[in-house]
């Protein structure tokens, strides 16, 4: 999430700016926590399929690590492209 999405706050009194910033912070915290939960859910679902033991075996653990790593890189790349589109940067095909 990008604070610039709030547009022009200059006209607001100091108190309202603080309140707006606090709101953005709260939404970012909520979003980070949800993203954490959805990342866990996805990597668990994709990597863990046997329930003969109650601990992750080596293969499952490394699958989860790669999955999470990959998702984070994916998410970062999507974020860059998304920001470009939001700013109206045009690129050839």
């Amino acid at each position: 999430m990008d604070k610039s999405m709030l547009g022009d706050l200059d006209g607001l009194p100091e108190e309202d700016k603080m309140r707006m910033a606090a709101m953005v912070d709260q939404l970012q915290i909520r979003d980070s926590l949800r993203m954490y939960n959805s990342l866990v859910e996805r990597c668990f679902t994709d990597c863990v399929d046997t329930f003969r033991r109650k601990t992750l075996d080596k293969q499952e653990e490394s699958c989860v690590r790669r999955c999470a790593e990959k998702f984070l890189k994916h998410s970062m790349r999507v974020g860059m492209r998304f920001a470009e589109l939001n700013q109206g940067v045009a690129t050839p095909d």
């Binding site: 707006m20 939404l27 790669r66 994916h74």
Partner: protein, 83 residues
């Protein structure tokens, strides 16, 4: 409280509420786009932790196409007063 000519407390609440909904919308859009493109582009066996070249270019095109779908549907909804 609102002795000066500024907005009333009620109007301020409305304004903050709208800004909040707008941000929630953008976060929601970003998250759905991220998951949709992960599903379309990423190989689910997770053999490597790195994105390969094919995945990278798929992601770029996927984000671009998702964005176009957003605009296309937005135009369609814009023509409908009931939305």
């Amino acid at each position: 409280m609102a002795a000066k000519g500024g907005p009333s407390n009620f109007e301020k609440e409305q304004m903050f509420g709208m800004a909040e909904k707008e941000m929630e919308y953008r976060v929601d859009l970003f998250n759905r786009l991220t998951h949709a493109c992960f599903n379309k582009c990423i190989e689910k066996r997770y053999k490597e932790a790195e994105l390969n070249m094919g995945e990278n270019s798929c992601i770029d095109r996927c984000v671009s196409k998702y964005w176009q779908v957003t605009n296309l549907v937005g135009q369609m909804l814009g023509n409908r007063p009931q939305m």
